[in-house]
Symmetry: C2
Subunit: 120 residues, 2 copies
DNA sequence: TCCATATTTCAATAATCCTTGAAACATTGA
DNA sequence: TCAATGTTTCAAGGATTATTGAAATATGGA
């Protein structure tokens, strides 16, 4: 992921409704959810969810497909993992203090490379 | 990290100058850099960098301390790792495809392998 | 004290983003 | 074809964010 895309992704995730949409779609899985169902889940109007979905798609974080009358959105897992990677490596320079925390509190992300760069 | 702080952090990182500041300060390490040096590195005016530094501090991503005439800023590594953790766990529901964990339970963050992996 | 340095604050403007409701578009079934 | 459903587009407005230069604040040294 290049910087431009990361900037757009961060902007996309900095809005409450859109962050909720990403969360919801990640949980929903590859089948995704129709725009109307997402709007209902988020408690916003049709035109409003459409605006935010377009923004998320522009950032590349979600994808859409038509399915009969509905337009079904799903999370783009590669983009999300690319963003996590960007945040860890590009933005945070692979700094051990940043990388040293994985989901389980165990080291991840080639800990040897990280410890070479240690300071503090 | 709670959602409110994550939203502020994403907003803070969605601006080119501010993303550059975070990168620069992470590389600079705990000693940090004076506001003037950051402004010079980013190529922006004093008042402009002050605006962006305040924004980053409000989001909790950087900290400041006075050192003689200078005000020295440094990255908040805990906040950054907290944001990475939020993105992986809370936002992305610990989804294996986002975390880059293979079916065999192999280690994470080998991002090339992750992005090559196919979707269902 | 006075001056220079380092930075922030302020006010004004420009730019961008968010929300709303109405209208338009696409699809399906009668 | 007509009507119903699901969604997007559009225009207008309000709200937030970014940029600029000038003025204010804080510090250290002569």
């Amino acid at each position: 992921m290049d910087e431009r895309q990361a900037l757009m992704s961060f902007a996309a995730l900095s809005q409450e409704t859109r962050l909720g949409v990403v969360r919801t779609l990640v949980v929903a899985g590859p089948e995704g959810m129709a725009a109307g169902a997402i709007a209902e889940a988020m408690g916003v109007s049709a035109s409003n969810i459409s605006f935010h979905l377009k923004e998320l798609e522009r950032a590349g974080l979600i994808a859409q497909r038509r399915e009969s009358r509905s337009i079904v959105y799903s999370a783009d897992y590669d983009a999300l993992s690319g963003l996590v990677k960007f945040l860890m490596e590009d933005c945070c320079a692979g700094h051990p203090r940043v990388l040293g925390v994985s989901a389980e509190g165990k080291a991840c992300c080639s800990a040897d490379a990280a410890s070479e760069r240690q300071h503090v």
